[in-house]
Symmetry: C2
Subunit: 117 residues, 2 copies
DNA sequence: CTTTATAAGTCGCTAACCGATATATAACCA
DNA sequence: TGGTTATATATCGGTTAGCGACTTATAAAG
């Protein structure tokens, strides 16, 4: 599995993986976490979210966590589906962060060069 | 003009603006510069390049530099079209780099949090 | 018993990218 | 002379990911 084949990630996808990197979550929780994580800047539409989850599952970057979400499944709404980041998913996420770091470094060099003459 | 309305930029678009931030260039020169700038990682297809240039022109983020490219227009190929970054384009580029910096910072925090427990 | 919050899913559209292909021009060289 | 290569711009068809709008389902609150 070559992480670079999955890059670059678009912003919503990056935030979804990043959200799952801390704890396993169900879709709606990801939605809220991403909004908080991005300081309110990124508000995923539910279509973006659920389509991305299906795609990431298909790619093996995330996986379903089976089982009836503890015993306390007395929450409103449809039954939750909990996801986790797979090792592949974590590698892709790390690779993307490394890519972004390089990008920022390159950009800053260029912008400095442009400003200094 | 609200720079954030143009964000996030996709990777090819970011590199095109970044390439023009240093010097004015024609399309083909951008193509080669982006490849060098990205250490060979990003090879724009000509369709991506010229469609992006048309779009960026339309958005006012770049502009044509008129005039027959100095007197020495004895280069092969069709006549060159030289572009420059507009002030708006530079603001958008700067905003994008700031966005990316924030993204990297957020991601590193999250990844540290995930690793430490 | 209607509204609100939670939760998942679907549809049609669009923007941006990409591979393939076309066209034009000058230089090189056999 | 005429074929190849490098330079240079342009267009077409297809794909992907995101997004707005909408739908369905469930429990609690009022």
């Amino acid at each position: 599995m070559e992480p670079s084949a999955y890059l670059p990630l678009r912003e919503p996808t990056l935030f979804i993986l990043l959200s799952l990197s801390a704890d396993n979550k169900h879709g709606y929780a990801i939605l809220q976490d991403v909004e908080a994580l991005s300081d309110g800047r990124v508000e995923l539409s539910t279509s973006t979210l659920y389509e991305a989850l299906a795609r990431l599952l298909d790619q093996g970057l995330i996986a379903r966590v089976e089982g009836p979400a503890a015993a306390d499944d007395q929450n409103p709404g449809r039954p939750r589906k909990v996801y986790r980041l797979t090792p592949s998913g974590r590698r892709v996420l790390n690779a993307e962060v490394v890519r972004l770091q390089g990008l920022v470094a390159t950009a800053q060099q260029r912008l400095r060069a442009a400003g200094s003459c």
